[in-house]
Structures are given as C-alpha cells and as structure tokens.
Amino acid sequence: MGKIYEYQVLRVDLSKGEITRETIKGKKVKDYLGGRGLASKMLYDEIDPKIDPLGPENKLIFASGILTGTAASTGGRYMVVTKGPLTGTIASSNSGGFFGAEMRFSGNDIIVFEGKSDKPVYLSIKGDKVELKDASKLWGKTVFETTDILIDEIGDKNARVSCIGPAGEKEVLFASIMNDKHRAAGRTGVGAVMGSKNVKAIVIKAAKKQVEYYKDEMMKVVKKQTKMLKEDGVTGEGLPALGTKVLDNIINSNGLYPTRNFQSGTFDKTSEVSGEALVEKGYLQSNKGCYGCPIRCGRNVKLPNGLHGEGPEYESGWAFGADCGVSDLNAVTEANFLCNELGLDTISAGTSIACAMELYEKGYIKDEELENGPELNFGSSEAIVYYTKKMGYREGFGDKLAKGSYRLAEEKGNVELSMSVKKQELPAYDPRGVQGHGLNYVTSNRGGCHVRGYMISPEILGVPEKLDPQELKGKPEWTITFQDLTAVIDSVGMCLFTSFALGLDDYREIVNAGTKFDYTSEDLLQVGERIYNLERKFNLEAGILPEEDKLPERFTKEPLPDGPQKGIFSHYKKLLPKYYKARGWKEDGYISAKKLKELGLK
C-alpha cells in the first residue's frame, strides 16, 4: 500500500453516507499519470457531461499528482476536478500549500465526493479513521474560522484543512476551495460544487507517510532539479523577491496590462500597486513556500491598518487594481484577503466588478440596484472592498455579481462587455498584445485562463526563448505544446512555475525515476495531449461547442487605444483553423476519429 503509481481512491457517497475504497493502477495510470489527467478520466467515465453541475449527479474529485507527497521539488500540488458551474465545461483547479501532500501521506490519493448530503458535513481523516461528520456548526463560517475550528477539533496543529467559505455554501459560481487558509483551488467555481453537495471541508492528519517510491533514484534527480530552480534567475531570484507581482510593471510596460475592464492596455498608476511597491512600502513581511518548494513565491503581507494575510498575487492584484482602475494597494490587498476569507476566485471576483463598473458608467446599471452601496465607478477603493464582501455573502447587488460578469452583462443586454471566454473571466494579459496567448484563451478547456498554456512565457518573458508577440507563424504549434506540457505538469503534482527552469525532459526524468516507468519525452507529452483531448471531448459532449472558441468582440473590433501596442487587434480568428489542424482535429473544431483512436479515446 502506498505505491505512488497505485492510486488509493476514497469514495464518499454523500446521499447514502457510505465510504468505500478502490485502487487504480496499470494502464490507466500510465495513460493519465494522476492529478488533472486521472481525475478528468474518472469524471468523464463516471458522469454524463450534460448534467447540472450543481446537481447531485455531479462528482467532485480531489486528486494527487503522481509525485505529490514525494521529495520532488514543489511536489505538493493537488487538483480538484468536476463539471464547472461557471462555464459548463470540465473544471479543474490546482492548489499548492500543504494539504495535497497530507492527503497523499494519509493513503487517500484521490477522494471522490458523489451525490448530495442532506445536511452540512465534513470529511475527517485521522490516521486510519475516516468519518463524515456533522458540519452544521461550521456552516456560515469563513475559511479562516473553519480551518481553526477543525484543526482544534482533530487535536493536532499539524492537520491540514481544505474547505469552502460562505461563497461556496451560497454557490457563488466562481467560489474557490481554500486550503491552508490562503491557498486556492481558485478558478472555475469548484467551491460552488462543494457547497451544492453540502460538504464544508476535509481535515486530514496522516499517521505516517504512506508514499512509496524509488527514493534513491529520484533523490539524484531532485538534487539536480532543486539546483536548477535555485540557480535560475526567475525561480531563484525574481519570484522569491517579488512574487508573481514582479509582472505588473513588465506587462504594463509592454502595453498589455488590461485596465478598466480591458478598455486600455496601460495603467498610469501601476507603480502604486506593483510588486515593487509591496516591498518598498514595507507591506511585505516575508516570502513563503508551499510543500517541498525551493522557489517560495508566496507573499506574507501586513497592511498599515493591521490586516495581514497572504497575497496579493499578480492576477489578484491586477483584477482589483488596474482592471477596476484602482491604485490603492491597501484596498486591493484587503479585497484579496476577503476573497481568501470568503472563498472567492480573485480573478473572477475583481473582473466581475470591473465589468459592472463599465456597465454602470455606461448607464446599464442604475443606482437603485446598488441598494445604497457605493457607486460603481472605476477607481473606487470603497467599491472593490464593499462589493467583494457582498458577493461572498450574495447580498444586495452582490447576488448579481455572484453569477459572474457574463451573466450580469447578458442580463443588462450587453454581453460583449463581459471580458470572458466560455463565461469565465479573462486574466491579466490583453490578448491583442500577445497573439499566441489570445489563441490559448479561446482554446482553453476551462474557459478564459492563463494557466492552460502560458504563452506569455515565450511571447513576452522570453522563456524558454523569445517569440515576437505579434507574429502569427508557429503560434498554434507553440500553444499546443504549452497546453499539453501544462496538462502533464498538473498531473505530475509539481508547480507550473518549475517550468520556467525545467523542461519536458526534466519532467520525464523525475517521473521515470520515482516510478521506474519508461516514458520517452514524446510519450509523456502524448499523455498531455490525451488529457487535453479528453477534456475537449467532455466539453463537446456537454454542449460547449467550437463556436464558443471565441474572444469578446472588443478584441477584434476595437484596437488597443494607447501604449506601445496602440492600434493592434487580436488575430485569433486567423490562428484558430491552423490550431485545429495542428491538433489533428476537423476543420469545424470537433476531434477527428483518427485522433481519438490514436490517443485511445474511442
């Protein structure tokens, strides 16, 4: 028991209150690795993609990657996979911290929740004892309160908690699942699915580390890779010192820093809210790492008003900052802390407010709808904090924001003002300024997202090599490689940030060392391709059709109005047919029978 390539699955039937166990091993593991891949395969096999994501037929899967809980650098990640309520696509959300490793240590590599409990419950795992317990007293509590209470109850301060806040309970469509208080399986509304099942939390304290792998072989590789991560300028210097907010000035200087709901690509007050400002103003207390992480990009921050917590990360700071036109770092950080406390995805929360601000300023939202809340003007510090709280509790106008920008803008008759793809809000890079990244947005299997294929890396940051962001040639192929490699990393259980210093061969080397598998690099990348195609197949069967592979009209009809990219549009429509072809899909965007057969998906 405990071999990393033989997954122990804990299945919790919430309707019946039954807990059963099973093992997954052999070909399925070779084909899907673990984490995102294996959990997506399970979801696809076990549910009808057409079901209501917030109904009892949906399943919620917490999955370790194949190296989660081992000595692999950053090997503490876990993935939450389900059908997402925001997009209707397959939803998978990744998180760091320490919960994933503890889950693995406990011998429960994958936890599946199915059905629906008739009253609030939480799953308690202490050593070999697994119980579903009454969570009535926890319902309504914040993420921080819930975490403290459960650690107290289980009687071990080293226990780890993953839970939802009020936002998940109230099924805010972009509610997150939070672990270790501040780490988030943030996007796609996985927290709403947990809330819909009446599951408040999982608390785990393993008795011993049930993680068996080829340690001697793997340690040699770990040693080499840790050195690579420490010596790399990005993972060894930039990220520890400035965190992900190192990007504010870079993206703004390149003219693709979305401002005021993507109406502009530069924010004149970036220096007030940047990663550098967080250090220079003295708010940053220390950096912080997740399990097994030599990078330590986490921000331990204390504000002058005494509030302290983790963050903001780049995307979170941008969503409440530039995208809402707000230059008050205190308010931005406070809104971020609130998201962690209430269990909200920071990107969708901030950008839904930004969308509401544009709707308000253009007269589509009337003052009376705000129920005495502050005016929704761009630049309002008061508004971002106030409406974040209202959203988390679904009170007043917050109830409308809780459905995300797409449904809000649609209700106001102006859906094009929602800066989203497949109803999920776009992150902090204007797709007009980076053509490959725009293609990644439209082809992401979980809607608008930067971490499905982070083309910013080659197009702007020059890692692993510098590509011209406006060049179209070669971009479909690059995007595909990034998407497939990311699916691999998300299934290995390592952090995506390792890919700034490591490449495909390095992931192959460490996976083979720990498992004695015999992947070639091509085999491993094909695992990623298989995962990507399976997710696409799920989405097509769910009714999310290729015609939704599109950006909001703003990006093809309005050029960037200012900055170094002034006058530029997104050309993703030219890239999309080439992408379909390079994927081996049909011209209409459906997966060809040949490709399905090649990947063993038919």
């Binding site: 990005v234 992900t244 870079i250 200087s253 971490v451 020059g462 890692v463």
Partner: protein
C-alpha cells in the same frame, strides 16, 4: 530632451533607484546605453543583461515598450526622447 532609463524588479530594489536620464547628442545603440550604465553602476548592467555578448535569456530591454529582441537586438537605435525600460529575467502568472 534626453533618454529616460527605467529600472524595475530586482534592478530597482538592489540599486535603490528607479532609473536615470542621459543627455544624448545623437542616436545611440542599446549596447552604447549599457556601457553608459556600466560607468554609473560599476558594471552592474552588463553583468545582468549580457551573456557572451548577447542579451541574457529572459532579460527584457524595451525601447518605448518594444522589445529590442524584435528590433535590432543590441544594435537597436535609441533616439532623443525615448524611454528605455530594463528588467532582469522575470516570470510569474
């Protein structure tokens, strides 16, 4: 008129400076600018931005927001009134 050079990220934190301005009489290249910076900052910038005579992978040098990698690399021209922005290798997301 002059050339404005902006430092960000670790450059800004390590040098405790947000940048410098140079008066130029005629256009200079990015290479020339790094030499000027080296004189004022003890060779710091060529050490950080250059590797074997070319731009260190991941370093970002922008002239008015355009990456010199796609202009004429270290031979890219800097004119009076231009803004040059410098970043060490950085990433996040």
């Amino acid at each position: 008129m002059s050339v404005k050079v902006k430092f960000y990220s670790l450059f800004k934190l390590n040098l405790k400076s947000s940048g410098i301005e140079y008066e130029i009489n005629s256009p200079i290249t990015a290479s020339d600018l790094i030499k000027k910076l080296d004189e004022d900052f003890n060779g710091y910038f060529s050490e950080k931005l250059l590797e074997a005579g070319t731009i260190t992978p991941g370093s970002i040098i922008l002239i008015n927001g355009q990456n010199i990698f796609h202009i004429d690399r270290l031979n890219s021209k800097i004119n009076d009134g231009d803004t040059v922005t410098l970043f060490p290798p950085s990433a996040g997301g």
